[in-house]
Amino acid sequence: MMSFVVYVDNKSVVHRSTLCSRAVFFYLFCFVLSVILPLIITYRSQGLWVEEFRNKEQAEVTYMEQMLVVVHTTSGVIYWTTDPSFRALNPQMLRQPFLKWHEYDSNHDGKRDGLELTLEVPLLPHESVQQVDLVANMEYSLHSHCDISVTGGIAFERSSCAPMSSVKVLGDVILHQRHSMRCSRAHQHNTQYLLQHHAASDDPTLWSPVKILSEYWLRNQTLRLSNEYIMSIIGPTDLFRVELSLKYVEQEHVYVASFWHVMKHAWIQYLSVLVVVVYVLDVVKKWVYSNQIVPTRTHVSHAHLYKRE
């Protein structure tokens, strides 16, 4: 007669032992091991506690309509700034430029994608430009992970022995991080402008680009130009022109991981090892108890019988 498997029913073998016995000890040992071992393994593989969180995002960058231009010519320095108090400080060297700019959002996603700025400085006939320094304020705000706003600026310098008639700057505005950013409100101290705290001062020496940048450099988060090409067109001119073409690009930002982020990541790591460890220990336990390596009292029961107990 052929026979078919029509149904499978499991029997359970119940192992019992007293409290102070090797079997109980082994049971406890396995339990502790299954808890501890994944912890050790994940910790040793540097995977348990993450300290930083990386996120790629295109920031909302805004030109703050504040800038300082210093043009070194053969017959002296001329400058211009958007700050009226500093304009009043050195009127002899002030030169009125023509400024034209626009920011564009090419893909209409609500975030500006770049800045085009043209600055035209009229020159006197005997002046020829040897160097130009430009500092402009920018605001850089991030929203996807948490709301962080960094106010900084971009700065560049170009000098040439031959007289320059125009300087063209191409570049990306990026955030330079010395440390990872914290999301908590207490740490949002980066709202310092590149030019801001000079504005109220009567001291014009604070307006030296060297000073401005030295102070700026000390900050932990700064904006700067990256992937930049600064080109100058040589030749005498009566209208010195600075053309700025900046792109606001997507960039990876590093944050300090928040508590729950750390916990979540640790749990994921822990769990994945735990599953394996528990399985292995289960196999070991089965072998140990079924072979009576540690003595136990056993009795066989059907699953439903066992359940009834």
């Binding site: 002296g76 320095v77 430029p97 564009y104 030749g235």
Partner: protein, 972 residues
């Protein structure tokens, strides 16, 4: 085999070796000729010879009892191997195990083999036992080098040749190289002097992946051991694919096709013969292509000599100077600007061609390239020209052109002329051309000395005629060579050819501050050598595909001599004067295309359709109302189509003076600042007049007119007849301060306060329409008068009183300006600051001013102090600011003639106020469906027997999802 004496490992190693050596490395057999005398006989003489040379080198360290010496193989030795192999193959295993002996390794001798070897070698001590390390493939016996000379028929690079171990340190022929132990020229005695042996790179056996590194054998051949130097678990025991570690052989190339084929991939990016390529790309076209003009095609010109050349506009390439020629493209407007550096010497001796106005208009424009070829075919049918007609043939090779891109070598292209007559005539023409087109490649036969270009062509033509009469070539004959074209003087049909469009020029120049515009043929035209071209504006009238119908050129001239130092000018500058002065001037070139029917009508330009385009002028106008006879009120917008007459803001001219206005372009934020000079006297006595003047200057006449209802176009194509397409320009006044008209005429201190110096125009726009193609619509415009209103001081106080080196008039030339502003005393006005007072600063101190404090790391005080010492007037310096504020005017003289500088600023800001597109999802779709009437027949009985039962169910999308999940399969 005495395997019982060996441990397993060694045995395996030896076996490895055997296996390794067997197939290909058989060349390592000891070339013991005496063991196989029969086979070796044929090679014997040679062998002896070679061994003779080899025998000279047994190194000092390898003289052992067994005297197994190893041959450092020469190429010549290889040839004899093949004959030995067959006979030696049985022994080869044993022998090669011994050849791998490595005297540094733990010595595991193979006694029997050794014995055999010794017995073999000892028998032949007179000849030498030769061991080769070369990995010579047995199947390809390598011919001797002398033999390879005979193989001219098939030159094959032999791979095996490069797999041998050369004695690569043997660099000197017939001389012992120091340190080169394998050099056959080095005797054993010589080698004693060596410090050591130079390591010689090995070809195959050097591969680290082999289990046995047999190259060591060459160096240490005195001891026997099995090489176990490669401890790697996986090493190559048998190499059955030597090609894997060797370069394949490459046959010698005999045909150039094969060469090209082989190199096709490799020289993809290498420009071979760049000149040739350029010519192929059309960089040096000399004839227009046989097609009609389409947009972007080069527009061709024809010189007075009748040569075709592509038109171009001088333009800057690397610097601001005119260095290149931008192509003059059909139907593409262009504006170019570049700088010319004119040496004064050159200007006065000979006017450079690029400053000559005729350079830019003394040519014809080819109206349609097709026409030349039609003309050509017509002429072929016609009879030859009567000999009386004066014709000349000009080769198109002379390199004179307004815009020839590349200058071809005349001699080379002259050869292209097919007929001898043309050749001779062109050669006779050459001197004539070369005088006019000497160096800079500009198309003009204008002769300076004559100053009468109108006669130039005729004189030129007559001289041509004299020459060409002798040859009198027929037109058809000439036209067979497209390189040449024909110019006929007098009754020449080609001169009036349909395809030639004369450039109608108009020269405009200054005479006593009046602009005079004259036709070049006008007898009253009075242009001196000093009049240089400052701008050229071409207007090309075209008829689309039918080509160019007319070209007009407006050439603006500027008098350079006025800028030269007065002395030099007046005293008739002598050419001997070694002046290094260079005049810099900008040249502007503009090309504009118009339809020929638009010649007499103004084309109104839109700023977008419908929405604004960034960079296009903002439409601006004011409302005009009219009541028609029928009593209907009509409203329209009066708009000036010239952007400069529209919404403009004040901007600084070249010198920072408020001398120019710039139109407001959509989407372009502007920030302008400039200065206006107001006499001190006016400030004191005529304050309200000053206010009005400044205000008028700042706002402009249109904006300042309070009666006009100003409107800004909402769309780039706003219709002037539809007032609803226009948004009002709103004004907001700073209400905290009284408007100047209501202000008292003069305050008690004699100050003229409340002068409007700044305003802001804010334009709000929103994007409309689809996200893919959004249209910008202006939704509101607000003009805010600045809250900052300056109050010039009653007296000349403060830093603005210092004279500043800003000229009042714009000019490029230094000398002129200097004289201008030296005569003026300017007083600068500004908010109070304690920098210093310096009222009679009558000399421009370049150095003192030039190294001003902040940016050059000098302290602020130094230049001020310097100025104090220099100036005779009383100076209130930094140290005593309180006095400065309270002191009366320091300048005793009445300062009526002094000017106060008022700084004015304007801002135009554009704000995008677009609403984001609908952020929420639309309502979930509703699905209505009816069950069949009798679907639930037993349960629900249709009433009245009519199909009144209908289950109308509305599902939301989420409900639907649930529904589908529950019955995903069952329902189907």
């Amino acid at each position: 085999m005495h395997t019982n004496k060996m441990d397993i490992l060694k045995f395996m190693c030896s076996v490895c070796l055997i296996v390794n050596v067997m197939p290909q490395d058989i060349a390592e057999l000891p070339r013991d000729v005496s063991t196989n005398p029969i086979n070796a006989t044929s090679d014997l003489p040679k062998l002896n010879q070679t061994n003779g040379t080899n025998s000279t080198f047994p190194s000092a360290e390898n003289v052992s009892d067994n005297s197994v010496t190893v041959n450092f193989l020469n190429e010549s030795d290889i040839s004899m191997n093949s004959s030995n192999i067959s006979s030696n193959s049985n022994d080869s295993a044993k022998i090669t195990t011994s050849t791998t002996a490595y005297f540094n390794a733990s010595v595991t001798t193979l006694p029997s083999i050794q014995d055999e070897n010794i017995s073999e070698t000892s028998d032949t001590t007179d000849t030498m036992t030769v061991l080769s390390t070369s990995e010579l493939p047995t199947e390809s016996p390598v011919p001797d080098e002398s033999e390879s000379d005979n193989e001219d028929e098939e030159i094959v690079m032999r791979p095996a040749m490069f797999l041998q171990n050369y004695c690569s340190c043997d660099m000197k022929v017939n001389s012992c190289d120091i340190g080169c132990c394998c050099d056959p020229d080095c005797s054993a005695d010589d080698k004693r002097a060596f410090l050591g042996c130079v390591s010689v790179p090995r070809s195959l056996s050097g591969d680290a992946r082999y289990c046995t590194q047999r190259w060591v054998l060459d160096r240490h051949n005195t001891e026997y051991s099995i090489d176990t130097s490669n401890p790697d678990l996986f090493c190559i025991v048998t190499d059955n694919l030597v090609q894997r570690t060797t370069f394949p052989s490459v046959k010698a190339i005999k045909t150039d096709e094969a060469f090209h084929e082989l190199l096709a991939e490799r020289r993809k990016f290498i420009q071979r013969d760049p000149i040739h390529q350029q010519a192929r790309k059309g960089g040096a076209q000399t004839m227009p292509p046989n097609k009609q003009y389409t947009e972007g095609d080069l527009v061709w010109g024809i010189t007075q000599e009748g040569r075709f050349f592509p038109l171009g506009l001088p333009s800057a390439v690397f610097s601001a100077s005119c260095e290149g020629k931008a192509p003059f493209k059909y139907l593409q407007d262009a504006t170019k600007e570049c700088r010319r550096q004119v040496p004064l010497q050159e200007l006065l001796k000979t006017r450079p061609r690029y400053l000559d106005p005729r350079t830019y208009c003394n040519f014809f424009v080819l109206s349609q390239p097709l026409l030349i070829y039609e003309e050509e075919s017509n002429e072929d049918n016609s009879t030859t020209i009567p000999p009386s007609s004066t014709s000349t043939v000009v080769s198109s090779t002379t390199d004179s052109s307004l815009s020839s891109y590349t200058e071809s070598d005349p001699s080379s292209t002259t050869k292209d002329s097919s007929s001898s007559t043309t050749e001779s005539s062109s050669s006779s023409q050459t001197p004539n051309n070369s005088t006019t087109n000497s160096d800079d490649g500009y198309a003009s036969d204008y002769k300076r000395e004559g100053n009468d270009s109108t006669t130039t062509t005729t004189t030129n033509g007559s001289s041509m005629a004299n020459q060409s009469n002798m040859h009198s070539p027929s037109l058809s004959q000439i036209l067979k060579t497209p390189q040449d074209i024909v110019l006929l003087e007098d009754d020449a049909p080609f001169f009036n050819a349909t395809f030639m469009v004369k450039v109608k020029a108009n020269f405009c120049y200054y005479r006593e501050s009046d602009i005079i515009c004259k036709n070049p043929d006008d007898p009253d035209l009075n242009i001196g050598p000093c009049d240089a071209v400052s701008s050229v504006s071409y207007i090309v009238f075209h008829n689309g595909s039918e080509g160019i119908t007319a070209v007009s050129a407006q050439v603006s001239l500027r008098n350079l001599c006025s800028s030269i130092r007065n002395t030099t000018m007046q005293e008739q500058f002598s050419p001997d004067d070694e002046s290094d002065d260079v005049i810099n001037m900008m040249q502007n070139f503009k090309v504009e295309y118009r339809w020929f029917q638009d010649e007499n009508q103004q084309v109104v330009k839109r700023s977008g359709r419908p929405g604004y385009i960034r960079g296009k002028p903002l439409l601006f106008g004011h409302v005009v109302r009219n009541v028609t006879d029928a009593g209907i009120k009509m409203e329209a917008i009066a708009r000036n189509t010239d952007p400069l007459e529209g919404l403009t803001v004040l901007r600084g001219g070249d010198d920072g003076d408020c001398s120019a206005r710039t139109p407001v372009m959509f989407g372009e934020n502007l920030q302008t600042q400039c200065q206006m000079h107001v006499t001190f006297n006016d400030i004191l006595n005529n304050c309200s007049e000053v206010r009005k003047r400044v205000r008028n200057k700042l706002l402009g006449s249109v904006l300042n007119n309070p009666d006009l209802e100003l409107r800004v176009g909402a769309y780039g194509d706003s219709d002037v007849l539809v007032t609803s397409h226009w948004v009002p320009l709103m004004r907001s006044r700073d209400t905290t301060r009284p408007f100047y008209e209501h202000d008292s005429e003069m305050s008690a201190e004699g100050r003229c306060s409340d002068i409007l110096v700044s305003y802001t125009i804010e334009v709000a726009y929103a994007l409309q329409g689809s996200l893919v193609n959004p249209q910008a619509k202006v939704v509101g415009v607000l003009l805010t008068e600045g809250s900052l209103r300056m109050s010039p001081p009653a007296s000349c106080l403060g830093p603005f009183c210092t004279r500043r080196a800003v000229p009042t008039q714009s000019s490029i030339f230094p000398v002129e300006n200097k004289s201008l502003f030296v005569n003026n005393d300017q007083i600068y006005e500004g908010s109070g600051s304690s920098l210093g007072v310096n009222s009679t600063y009558d000399q421009i101190d370049k150095d003192g001013r030039g190294r001003e404090p902040i940016f050059s790391n000098t302290s602020l005080n130094e230049p001020t102090a310097e100025r104090q010492t220099k100036d005779t007037a009383q100076v209130v310096s930094l140290e005593e600011p309180p006095k400065l504020r309270t002191s009366p005017p320091v300048d005793a003289q009445p300062s009526h003639d002094k000017t106060v500088v008022i700084e004015m600023s304007t801002k135009v800001l554009f704000f995008d106020v677009s609403e984001p597109s609908m952020p929420v999802f639309p309502d979930p779709p509703r699905i209505n469906f009816k069950l069949p009437e009798n679907f639930l027949y037993p349960l629900v009985v249709p009433t009245n027997g009519v199909a009144s039962f209908s289950a109308q169910v509305s599902f939301s999308s989420s409900f639907l999802c649930l529904f589908l999940m529950l019955f995903n399969v069952g329902f189907v």
